[in-house]
């Protein structure tokens, strides 16, 4: 090997220079960032969105939906539909486009601007002021270092800046806005006349085989999916809890070895006399304060009972002085450190010597001690027992999991052996339909797939052990099954005929309606009964169906009366006569203004979408559709 190097020294030297040069000028990242390709879900220009990044974003989105549902049932499919996946990916792509744009345009956030931003965030404030402690806590809660957190924040601000540059500057113009707002407020006086669906039903003549034709054409709608009823056993930590016992000795041992845990909550009650002398005070002041404190202490040594009186007269802590210096109960961490140390080292009734803190000089009298003893074994026995049982059950589960998996496979004709072996109960399901997401076990896709396999239905074998939740294994066995079938035509013939008749009648009503409209527009006298006159606008249509509102306001009103017609959701056809139009003059009342703002918003988001679309086209986006549809293995 070294011979090669020696014999081709020059080649090697040139080669070394060649591979070193790029490092010198472009850094190491340019190499590393090209590694690990292959499972990218999308390519945005030169950047890649990895499957991992996508799944993380999807999970975060699902968490947000769950949190906002606040425990209400979320319809299946909302969390992981193709639409939801695509929306999450689009968001990621847009983010990449934006950050790419911001990078190329050299957008930056100065340290000063970052500081200003952080100190202005209300969730980082206490009493309207920036709180460094709260900031630290929030950074720590995201398990990030401060540098990483600030870098991410910087990035967010830059993205927001880039986005706002387009959408916040949107300028719509009053005229353009009014062209949308005014029609929304325009009022039209209308009266209506209805062609009821019912009166056309009798005119419908269905062909004798109409129902059959429909049934054949829509056979999918009449399918009944395969169903199974199954029995199953669950091996889980919870199921094993009842099978483990813990001895008194174990509980005692656990209690003894975790004394610290049961000894929390020590509290003290104290009174104090404070003579103020803060850290920055001049020395002479401090000395004066100290002398005063020493003097008081000397008085107290003679007459300890005067503590409350002296506190009232001399203490410079206005909160406690009035109460004779009493500070009430406090735990560790509540008081400044020197004070706390003194208080927690004193006996009840004792008076301390002069204690120096950042505030000044304290004389402390300890008035109460509690919580030191902690909880007795009897207090926490139940708690410890459950904890130990959980540990034992977890251990037992870990030991049993493999045996469970093997047993259901090796003795596949019955669940009884495995149930006996691990003392588990054989439970029954109700009927489960194929392809219909159910609750509980019936919602696990892997178990369902196993249950509807040939092996499970025809051979009546146990399914493999499926981990349906963490530390929960399930094996099921089909007890009874019904194959997929169809509803017989005879059962649905009437319903189909009724539906078809309705459809035909609807068409007849529409036809009649249109004929009437044509005659009305021609100015012919038509014998119709018009109902009461209503005054409606697009935004205040008095519960009129949307199709009717659309028809009325689409209608030309250059000549009055004008007419319009629309089908209601019930299938009736309604004719409208428009007798008066009151245009909106767009003067600035509150409502007009609000809608004007809405117009500005609609336009701003359209322009922003257009801007993103242009960025997207320029950068070039490729999506790996197959990866996008691939669900994560559970």
């Amino acid at each position: 090997m070294f011979d090669i190097v020696r014999n081709n020294r020059r080649v090697v030297q040139v080669f070394l220079v060649l591979i070193m040069l790029p490092f010198a000028f472009f850094g190491v990242e340019s190499y590393i960032s090209h590694l690990g390709a292959g499972d990218d879900i999308a390519k945005v220009g030169d950047n890649k969105i990895t499957t991992q990044e996508f799944r993380q974003a999807l999970r975060e989105q699902q968490e947000r939906i769950r949190a906002s549902a606040q425990g209400r049932q979320i319809p299946p499919g909302v969390l992981d539909s193709p639409e939801a996946r695509r929306a999450v990916l689009d968001t990621l792509i847009n983010r990449h486009l934006l950050s790419d744009y911001a990078r190329k345009a050299h957008f930056t956030v100065s340290d000063q601007a970052l500081v200003q931003f952080i100190s202005s965030v209300s969730s980082l404030q206490v009493d309207g002021k920036f709180s460094p402690e709260k900031y630290d806590a929030i950074v720590a809660a995201q398990s990030l270092t401060k540098e990483a957190f600030e870098a991410r924040l910087r990035q967010d601000i830059v993205l927001q800046q880039a986005a706002a540059g387009i959408s916040a500057s949107s300028l719509t113009g009053k005229t353009s806005s009014a062209l949308w707002v005014n029609p929304l407020f325009e009022e039209r006086e209308v009266s209506s006349s209805m062609l009821k669906l019912d009166q056309y039903l009798s005119q419908v003549k269905l062909a004798a085989d109409a129902a059959k034709t429909y049934y054949d054409a829509h056979s999918k709608d009449f399918e009944i999916p395969a169903q199974v009823r199954a029995e199953f056993v669950i091996l889980s930590q919870a199921a094993l809890m009842n099978q483990v016992t813990v001895s008194e000795a174990d509980i005692k041992a656990a209690y003894d070895s975790h004394q610290d845990k049961y000894r929390q909550g020590a509290e003290r009650r104290a009174s104090h006399i404070l003579i103020l002398a803060d850290k920055a005070a001049p020395e002479a002041k401090v000395a004066e304060a100290k002398a005063k404190a020493e003097g008081l202490l000397a008085q107290l040594k003679k007459n300890p009972k005067d503590f409350a009186k002296l506190a009232k007269e001399n203490s410079q802590d206005p909160g406690s002085a009035a109460k004779g210096g009493d500070l009430d109960w406090f735990a560790r961490g509540a008081m400044v450190k020197p004070f706390e140390e003194a208080a927690f080292s004193m006996k009840e009734g004792e008076i301390s010597s002069v204690v120096r803190s950042d505030f000044g000089f304290h004389i402390i009298q300890l008035t109460g001690i509690r919580g030191d003893k902690g909880k007795s074994l009897a207090d926490v026995r139940g708690e410890i027992e459950i904890e130990l049982k959980q540990q034992a059950a977890a251990k037992k589960y870990a030991e049993a999991a493999e045996g469970f998996t093997n047993t259901v496979y090796e003795q596949a004709d019955s669940l009884k052996p495995v149930a006996d072996k691990y003392k588990l109960e054989i439970q029954q399901t109700g009927w489960i339909a194929k392809g219909v997401a159910g609750n509980g076990l019936a919602s696990n896709p892997k178990l369902l797939a196993a249950l509807f396999s040939d092996d499970a239905i025809k051979n009546k074998r146990n399914t493999e052990a499926v981990e349906v939740a963490s530390n929960t294994l399930v094996s099921a066995r089909v007890v009874e099954s019904k194959p997929a079938t169809s509803v017989p035509l005879a059962d649905v013939k009437d319903a189909i005929e009724k539906q078809l008749t309705h459809e035909e009648a609807r068409k007849l009503a529409i036809k009649a309606g249109h004929e009437l409209l044509i005659r009305l527009f021609k100015g012919e006298t038509v014998n119709l009964v018009w109902g009461e006159i209503k005054n409606i606008s697009r935004i205040n249509a008095e519960k009129m169906p949307l199709s009717s509102v659309d028809a009325i306001f689409k209608s030309s009103t250059s000549k009055l009366p004008s007419y319009a017609g629309a089908t209601t959701p019930d299938g009736d056809f309604v004719l409208y006569r428009i007798s008066k139009v009151t245009p909106h003059d767009g003067t600035g009342d509150q409502r007009t203004k609000a809608l004007g703002n809405q117009y500005a918003q609609i336009v701003a988001s359209e322009e922003f979408a257009a801007w993103l679309a242009a960025l997207r086209e320029k950068a070039g986006v490729e999506i790996n559709q197959k990866l996008l549809e691939t669900k994560e293995e559970k």
């Binding site: 639409e83 689009d90 100065s110 601007a113 540059g165 300028l171 113009g173 062209l179 030309s556 801007w611």
Partner: protein, 227 residues
């Protein structure tokens, strides 16, 4: 080290000859590459520096607008345009300020700032947006012909709908209903042409708005291209 065997001596000789022949060329090449890299880094550094300075002015501009300070916002936008014309902040600042100036009642400055972006903006999208917004201002001032002139050159494809809508607005206020309907119809058609995905359609509210503008013309349906 001092003792070379024959083979190595030979190689050394060879190397020396090679260096005599190509040494200069290699040195020059390396120097050029190094200089080019340095120049590129320098150019980047300078651009970053400009951007950082412009960013500070831009933040000030945002704040001035936020506190309704018309004078200061005018000054800062002016400073951005004059000192950092090549940065994205300058065009963003001009667009942002133009909107604010309209709200402050100073449409003359707004005109000038939008015009600046049209002429000096650094990307096509910003230039098109500036033209569109200029047209909106001109429409408000009833300078229909001038407004229409802003829209003559076709924009980036993504802005087709907005440009068509603006044309429709211009025609509509001049009473040219049929032509306006054609323009609105074209706007809707270009939205419908945009690539579709499984995700939510970001253009839906805008499309609905266009439909109402179109419907309110009160023309027989056939006149508009959309259904």
């Amino acid at each position: 080290m001092a003792v070379y065997d024959l083979e190595e001596q030979e190689q050394l000789e060879e190397l020396k000859t090679w260096w005599k022949q190509y040494g200069n060329a290699v040195t020059i090449a390396i120097t050029i590459v190094a200089l080019a890299a340095a120049a590129w880094q320098g150019w980047n550094w300078w651009q970053r520096k400009q951007a950082a300075e412009a960013a500070a002015v831009y933040v000030g501009l945002e704040q001035a607008i936020g506190s309704q300070d018309a004078k200061k916002s005018r000054e800062l936008a002016g400073a951005l345009i004059e000192k950092y014309p090549g940065t994205a902040y300058a065009q963003m600042g001009a667009l942002l300020s133009a909107r604010a100036q309209v709200e402050f009642g100073d449409s003359k400055t707004a005109h000038a700032q939008l015009q600046w972006v049209v002429e000096h903006g650094i990307d096509a999208m910003a230039k098109d947006l500036a033209r569109l917004r200029l047209a909106a201002l001109l429409l408000d001032e009833k300078s229909y012909d001038e407004a229409l002139r802003q829209l003559t050159t076709p924009p980036q494809a993504a802005l087709n709908a907005r440009f068509s809508e603006m044309k429709g607005d211009l025609l509509s206020v001049q009473g040219k209903k049929t032509e306006a309907a054609t323009a609105y119809g074209a706007a809707i058609a270009s939205l419908d042409k945009a690539p579709k995905t499984d995700g939510p359609n970001p253009h839906a509210p805008y499309r609905e708005m266009l439909q109402i503008k179109l419907d309110s013309l009160g023309l027989p349906v056939a006149a508009g291209a959309a259904k």
